[in-house]
Subunit: 396 residues, 2 copies
């Protein structure tokens, strides 16, 4: 049939599935401890509170109907109040747009903000879900490497001075996926200044900002400039099944996204949006709930990082895991993480090799470890297995 | 800010909101009986059954997690069984893809099947949500008029013979929105034959097929050719809040759509998809439920059509409303429905003028009436008001 339908055949050739998704399919074997995933822990999701909210939502028949494209009104109001507090200014409701997870915001924004051939600057290593939509929009992608304080603005500044004119700079500002690091307050301010100086949009992609372990995340990049479109989500603090992401952006950006959302899928679900509003508005309950998630993830993160450092010593450097879901580990002994993977799977542990997230830097000696879905003992066992695999490959 | 951001400014200039949506905003006044909407009746939606299913779904923590991009497995199995029965062949699960309403299927298919400049043939009058996505994909749109038996295949055949080479032909096969008519069995077979002869895809968009009043809808176009991509939805028989649409298509089309869905929004909601699966699998309950919706809508449709015919006599022709949600009325006395609208709103009734759905035919004398959300007495009152407005305009 393909011969008759050239666009379809070309799409199938041209589209690449996420390497991580494909890997995850291979690592669902019961005998493998997977540090390769990127999922929050379902055991920590507030099932009972969601059930109560679902019952309440269904008491109103209007929740069964189509809802407005920018999101169910009361959810947008709750989000406006929440973001007003976070951003330190009164955020009006028409600057709030509810999306089907943050991923939909990225996808619609790529259509709104990018012409084919436009330059998008991402971080290296990058969130691959963002790369995918920017590439699909026909953008040219350049990457700026991360260091311990997030995106290296010295490199960005050089590129801009040399004539680079990005339409969009994308940053995962807190507890980077996959890099684990957080953009420092000084760099946030400077990035915002550069956006105004050179006239580009910043997409501040922030699904993990609430998941800090020791101290709150810095003020959002969006506090420093109206050129920032800020994305967040209920997936990591409540539950992905709600498919509730949101965007805080100038009203005209929201308006353009609304017109595209009508074509993309008309509207979200008033049921899951009311559940989300209900839980986010229950601020005392929410504070206690998020605290407990922080505590559990923080303990797991520390166990994982401690185990990595004690087993591998100076053959690795690792991020501290101050929040979020991921640790980024660099081997300093020349270990190739793609070459190590089959041996690791043999010993019963999975991770994602660094090059799965690489844009233009070589991350052959790096890997991403996710600590959210295993308890401490299992994480320590996972690192033991990784050390065994590493030793085995070392002996070859 | 626009000056700095030319793509955004251009998008805002270029994108058009749905005329119907904008009109609906004006017609939500309490004193107006709106026949302009396109919503199913929330009073008929199975709220209690959905609440039971929601409780059951939430008993499993895994329903809180991300789910697979092509849809929650058990829902795809229920749909495969359902469509196997409808299509008279064993439909494998990899030919079933769950979307966020049918609209998302249209949007993703436009990306998969169309190159910029590709020809798409729609019906005239057309479903505007389809026009919007085909236009956004850069397609050229041509329209083939409807008659009482659906798309005029004599016109399509002439166009093909004259050299037209569509990539896609889009048809709302049952109880057309807005045209009210159903594609006849003979034309279904012929359309399928033309698709194979000329090598185009048919998108058979079928949200209303279950809502027949007197006798079941004809066998789907998809029973006649593998070139048909069939779309359906739970929105009109269960509830829009479930945001559950589905596509039955060759596995390679589903695969291409899957890769795009990962970028568009990762996945749907396992919660709403399990609720949908639960209700669709409960076949005895479902049959009773859908029967009751048919009965109510059928009674309303008949009341509306009878009132239109008795008030306007030979100054109008009207479809019979054998199913679905809409009646299409043509004035034979030269009444311009766009000119009539302000007067109609003054007397307290709203409808959508035919030209809101026009592609290349002039529907200045036509209008779409929706009968789903008012009872018989209200529908009769609405037509009385319409007759008053018509008389008032006639006197000017």
């Amino acid at each position: 049939m393909s011969a008759n339908f050239p666009p379809l055949a070309r799409r199938l050739d041209g589209l690449q599935s996420s390497a991580i998704r494909d890997l995850l399919k291979l690592t669902s074997r019961a005998d493998i401890i997977s540090l390769a995933g990127g999922l929050p822990d379902a055991e920590l999701m507030p099932r009972d509170r969601i059930a109560v909210a679902a019952d309440a939502a269904l008491s109103e028949r209007s929740r069964l109907q189509y809802t407005e494209s920018p999101g169910w009104g009361p959810l947008r109001e709750v989000l406006a109040a929440r973001e007003s507090e976070r951003l330190g200014r009164a955020v009006p409701v028409d600057e709030i747009f509810v999306t089907h997870g943050s991923q939909q915001a990225l996808s619609l924004l790529a259509e709104v903000l990018l012409d084919p051939g436009a330059l998008v600057i991402c971080e290296d290593p990058a969130y691959v879900g963002a790369l995918q939509v920017f590439r699909a929009a026909g953008a040219r992608i350049e990457a700026v490497p991360l260091d311990a304080e997030g995106m290296r603005l010295d490199v960005l500044r050089e590129r801009l001075a040399a004539g680079a004119r990005p339409a969009v700079v994308h940053t995962v500002s807190n507890f980077h996926n996959p890099g684990g690091v957080t953009l420092s307050p000084e760099r946030r301010r400077e990035l915002a200044n550069l956006a105004e100086q050179y006239g580009f949009w910043i997409i501040e992609d922030d699904p993990y900002g609430e998941l800090w372990f020791d101290r709150p995340s810095p003020a959002p990049v969006a506090t420093y400039s109206p050129n920032v479109i800020r994305l967040s989500s209920a997936s990591k603090i409540l539950a992905p099944t709600l498919r509730a992401g949101w965007m805080i952006a100038p009203a005209q950006v929201c308006r353009a996204v609304e017109l595209l959302k009508q074509g993309a899928d008309l509207c979200g679900s008033a049921l899951t949006q009311q559940i989300t509003a209900d839980l986010l508005a229950d601020t005392d309950w929410l504070a206690t709930h998020v605290d407990s998630v922080r505590r559990v993830y923080g303990t797991r993160a520390k166990a994982l990082v401690d185990a990595v450092r004690s087993r591998f010593g100076d053959r690795v450097t690792s991020t501290d895991a101050a929040g979020g879901m991921f640790v980024w580990v660099d081997f300093t002994d020349g270990t190739d993480t793609t070459a190590l993977l089959p041996s690791a799977l043999d010993t019963g542990v999975a991770y994602v090799p660094g090059n799965a997230f690489a844009v233009s830097t070589d991350y052959a000696h790096s890997m991403r470890l996710c600590f959210t879905t295993s308890d401490e003992a299992v994480l320590i066992e996972a690192v033991d297995r990784l050390a065994k695999a590493h030793a085995a490959v070392g002996q070859v």
